[in-house]
Amino acid sequence: MFGLKPDLCSIPLTDEYYSLEDYEDGIARWCPGCGDHSILTSVQKLCREKQLAPEKTVFVSGIGCSSRFPHYMNTYGFHGLHGRAFPVASGVKFRRPDLDVFVVTGDGDCCSIGTAHWIHAIRYNMKMTVLLLDNSIYGLTKKQTSPTSARGTKSNTHPQGSILPPINPIQTTLGVSNVSFVAQTADWNPAHVYETIKAAYEHPGFSFVRVVQRCPVYMRDLYDAAVSDPTALTLLTHEKGIKLHENVERSFKNIIQHDPSDINKGREYAEMSGSIPIGLFYQNKNAPRYDEYGAFNIGMPVEDKISAINSELDKYAV
């Protein structure tokens, strides 16, 4: 489009400096203590760090507490339909290589009603940064079971406790062909959240980040324990993985070396129970990207189009 080469487009075409405030829009209407607040801050920090031009940045979401995210970013935003963030984001990116696209979704939005689009978006592997804010509950609609709710979770749709084992978003994502970046982090470790989102943004393709997120209103107990317990998280680390400042890294009791190019080991770690593994499970920088296909012929001059149409008409001429 307008003559720019895809690769050129991704360079922010601006010389002014953007401060944090330039990315903020209004006060976030999430509950006090909601994990989403800190995630928002990390994202705004990333935008500043990368000096993303607000007008070249698009946040796409579905419906849910988490999906209100775009309203709090002073960028372009698309607060669409429940479960449908991925198709919209794909459409946005398809012919606009010059835009940075982020997807913010919830566990119900992504793993329940949005499942089909989630699975296929992984396969399309279009360059976008995906944040699954997973509080293991339906927040906006006031406490119904989510596919990621631990078995036995008492909710308004399962007052006796939920019946089924939870979906494992990391494992499911790793099961889809053409998967290229899968990471997990936890909202109460902002340093790790930030570095993970940064790595995701830098990945040349579809980067999927599950952020374990606290919902103090409806899932108070769930992570309270976790937050206080230093062994609740297990850090997956590797020189090819997510870089942490050594002080941050030192703060972890459980640390495992995991080479993110080994998908089989990644799948084994995804099954870890007891402690929550955070870090990079898998990355492949060379997976084919559908957005590159989408961009290959943008900006064709009108004359060329007209002659293409005419040669088509010739086929039907009598």
Binding site: F2, E55, H71, A308
Partner: protein
């Protein structure tokens, strides 16, 4: 123009070329025998000679039906006339059949009548399988009993003179025979063959030409059948295609660069055509995981750039409903093509219906005003995509184009469009957004506003499906939702300002006004013209805009004693058990017109899954104006 006429048919009856105004020809066979290729060539040659032409393929329900099966009838109908031909017409005048069984598939469709000439491959008479010989003999007797004029023809034997395996090639011999019967220009036919086989070797071309000539000469020597269909005066440069191909080329001509779709009959062939050519015209087609994703992708694409298109049919429309509501609410330009098929549910996937009008209007929850237009001809299929893209952007709204299986598969020539650079969408605006203008800066008069496109500095906003104010901020104050709803609704009134009352075919007053929409135009007008020639006071009117409804209808209706729509969708028949004027459920356009004009609009409709042909409409008109008086 009269629709059918009996003509000499068997070797016994002598005659020289009799001049006729039009003829309906069919070639039917098992699938894979090339009947369609022969028919398309015959149509093209006729178009080249300046005749009006309409061809439609006959497609079996299964993908590979067994040979000589009734359900397996595969082939083509070609209607050739002196004037413009706008529909597939009524009963066939002349049929070429490669076996007798497939004819029964067509008889079930009521495609033939007494007097229909049938040129029948006679090899089955001497088949070494007895059952086949029996079937053939029985059918022959039956055909005669039905009053068909059957001529048995040794096609196989004749073709064997040119090729070892007539299954490949017989179609060209048939083409040659038809060229003789209708005095078609053989050199034009040769050109056509060269074009058809351009990818093939010279040898193949030659053997096909030999078959062509063989068929021509054999007919000359052995058949007295010979018709002259005088051409219209030079129609100028023409293109000949079906409605789905016209949709596809219209998409290119509209400058649309993204088509997101999911396969569904009968819409898919439009996408097939696009898949073939859109990349050369600077666009891309995306096959999504489902219809919801397809429209979501198109909306995302429109939001971030040029208006995109999505193409589907009934069941797909149902799935797109929620996203259409979002596009209306957030005012995202979008073109949606619905190639209507038989419903409800999976219904009749390959058959025609005009059953999605009300669903398109009212499918989404809440008030979701949108523009709906329906092309009436193949040429309009091409033009309306360009129109739709313009409307979508000018009025910042989704636009639904309702076409149907009849237009999708009908093939007819129309003047070759001169591609106009203005048709093509300009590159998207990336200039700095005017600071003080809000993303939904609704004009109080028209409800119109200009939309910021990502990339535009200072245009940043978050689109939302929640009730929102002009800044796209979520609305808590009750007034806001009311005002915003008014603005969106007002846009339809603004569109209305740009429309003129529809033209009437026939007098401006009379005993009966037939109202139609979409693919039925040709058949309705042909029937109305015939009726008028026989002195009946009937006129017709055809609607292209269904939302907003075209202006001036009340005034027009007042001048007629009776208004009746002709539609291909369901309506109860008064007089059927339990069905009264009160309990009756009306055809879809009729229902809308009743609410809109408060005139007692009647309807003639059915769901046979077939195009309504002129004969049926003519009978209805006579019913109304003769029998009832």
């Amino acid at each position: 123009m009269s629709i059918t006429q009996s003509i000499p048919a068997s070797k016994k009856i002598r005659s020289s070329a009799s001049t006729i105004s039009q003829h309906i020809v069919e070639i039917v066979s098992d699938s894979g025998e090339g009947a369609q290729k022969a028919g398309q060539s015959f149509g093209s040659v006729s178009a080249k000679m300046g005749n009006g032409v309409w061809t439609v393929e006959i497609i079996p329900a299964e993908i590979q039906p067994p040979a000589r099966s009734r359900a397996g009838a595969s082939g083509i109908r070609i209607r050739v006339g002196s004037e413009k031909v706008t529909n597939m017409g009524d009963h066939a005048n002349l049929v070429v059949a490669l076996n007798e069984q497939v004819l029964y598939g067509r008889i079930a469709q009521n495609a033939y009548a007494e007097g229909t000439i049938i040129l029948l491959e006679n090899k089955w008479a001497s088949s070494d399988i007895e059952s086949i010989r029996k079937e053939y003999a029985m059918a022959l007797a039956d055909f005669n009993a039905r009053g068909f004029k059957v001529v048995e023809i040794p096609m196989e034997t004749e073709c064997l003179k040119f090729v070892p395996d007539p299954r490949k090639g017989k179609n060209m011999w048939v083409l040659g025979m038809l060229c003789r019967i209708y005095n078609r220009d053989l050199t034009k036919a040769e050109e056509q063959i060269r074009y058809t086989f351009k990818k093939k070797s010279e040898k193949i071309f030659e053997s096909n030409v030999n078959l062509l000539k063989g068929g021509y000469n054999w007919a000359k020597e052995n058949l007295e059948l010979n018709f002259e269909i005088p051409p219209l005066q030079d129609a100028g440069e023409l293109v000949v295609m079906n409605g789905n191909e016209a949709i596809a080329l219209g998409t290119l001509a509209a400058g649309i660069e993204v088509c997101a779709m999911y396969p569904i009959t009968p819409a898919t062939s439009a996408s097939h055509k696009l898949a073939e050519c859109i990349e050369n015209a600077g666009g891309i087609i995306h096959q999504a995981e489902d219809e919801i994703a397809a429209i979501g992708f198109a909306i995302g694409s429109s939001y971030a750039g040029k208006t995109a298109i999505t193409i589907t049919s009934g069941p797909g429309m149902a799935l797109k409903t929620e996203f259409i509501g979002l596009a209306v609410m957030a005012e995202v330009p979008l073109v949606i093509v619905d190639v209507q098929r038989g419903g409800p549910s999976t219904g009749l996937p390959t058959k025609v219906e005009q059953g999605d009008l009300l669903a398109s209007l009212y499918g989404a929850a809440g008030d979701a005003p949108k523009i709906i237009i329906a092309p009436a001809t193949i040429e309009e299929c091409f033009q309306f995509v360009i129109l739709a893209r313009k409307l979508a952007e000018a009025f910042r709204t989704p636009v639904i184009i309702l076409t149907d299986a009849n237009l999708a598969t009908g093939v007819s020539p129309f003047p070759r469009p001169k591609i106009n650079a203005d048709w093509l969408a300009p590159p998207i605006d990336q200039s700095r957004w005017k600071e003080n203008i809000s993303p939904y800066n609704w004009d109080p008069e028209t409800g119109l506003s200009q939309r910021p496109i990502p990339g535009q500095k200072d245009g940043m906003y978050t689109l939302t499906g929640l009730a929102h104010d002009h800044n796209s901020k979520v609305a808590y104050d009750p007034e806001i939702n009311q005002k915003a709803s008014e603005a969106r609704s007002r846009k339809l009134a603004a569109v209305l300002q740009t429309l003129k009352p529809p033209k009437i075919n026939g007098d401006e007053s009379g005993d009966l006004l037939v109202v139609g929409w979409g693919s039925t135009k040709g058949a309705i007008e042909e029937a109305v013209d015939t009726a008028r020639n026989s002195g009946l006071k009937v006129s017709s009117l055809h609607l292209r805009f269904l939302s907003p409804m075209e202006p001036g209808l009340e005034e027009i209706f007042k001048k007629f004693k009776k208004i009746k729509t002709v539609e291909i969708n369901y309506s109860d028949k008064v007089g059927d058990p339990l069905i009264t004027q009160k309990s009756r459920r009306y055809a879809q356009l009729a229902w809308l017109l009743r609410a809109h004009t408060l005139v007692d609009v009647d309807c003639y409709s059915n769901v046979f899954g077939q195009p309504i042909n002129p004969g049926k409409v003519l009978n209805m008109i006579k019913e109304e104006l003769i029998n009832k008086n």
